[in-house]
Amino acid sequence: MTWLLVAIIVVSNTAGDVFNTAGMKRHGQVEHFNPRAITHLVLHLARNGFIIAGIASLTVSFGALIMLLSIAPVSFAIPATAASFLLETVLAKIALKERVTCKRWIGATLVAIGVALLAL
């Protein structure tokens, strides 16, 4: 059950981050962070289909994370999702057309290995 929850978290978290990134790139850069601007931002994003799909995916991930946190220590629960670093980097290149240089690949791979070690 523990690893099934980890798989659900990895897949839904990856989908959520990719949808959210696509949605925010279409929204444009957020420049202002006062309460009025943040309210305006939230209302605007509530009509963004990518953000709605992203939040829905992250809600599934959050629900699975709450279940995992109730049966596993936090220092296992969070790092166990390390695979999402590489999966998201692959999708960032393919789906979001980001320029993932050699340096970024090595960095992301080291991060995934390091995070996996945190789960041991």
Binding site: M1, D17, N20, T21, G23, M24, K25, R26, H27, G28, Q29, V30, E31, F33, I38, L41, V42, H44, L45, I51, I55, L58, G63, I66, M67, L69, S70, I71, P73, V74, S75, I78, P79, S84, F85, E88, T89, A92, K93, L96, K97, E98, R99, V100, T101, K103, R104, I106, G107, A108, T109, L110, V111, I113, G114, V115, A116, L117, L118, L120
Partner: protein
Amino acid sequence: MSNGPTHHTARLKTRVLMVAVIVGNVAGNTLLSRGLHHGGSRLSSSFLHYLHGVADPWAMGGVLILMAWMIANLSLLSRADLSYALPVTGSVSFMLIALAGHFFLSEPVSLAHWIGIAIITVGVVLVIETPPLTVAVHGPPEDER
């Protein structure tokens, strides 16, 4: 790309957002975990069991912080690549969560954890040396939305 004050301010905003995302992630998840463990550790098929767990004041504080984290994270993703932001914010959060788990929840930090933390640090330094944004941002200027 210009290296003038505007570019410097934009880069500074991106860095500040990264710090906010990291701090929000660590604080939110640590409070949430503390709240959920108040009621004892067990897996339940009942949604009400988890709803009751989230109603704990610690967990409630965690959820509120994670809502602010979500806004900061979306703002960051409007200004930086996912493949740039995620390895940095995600992994530094994991390192701090492992350390917070050790210092505040008495969870052990083994040798493997310390090696993991060292490898993550090298990875983060490599990623942070790459340009933050490599794709076009299509949205109109904020004032025209």
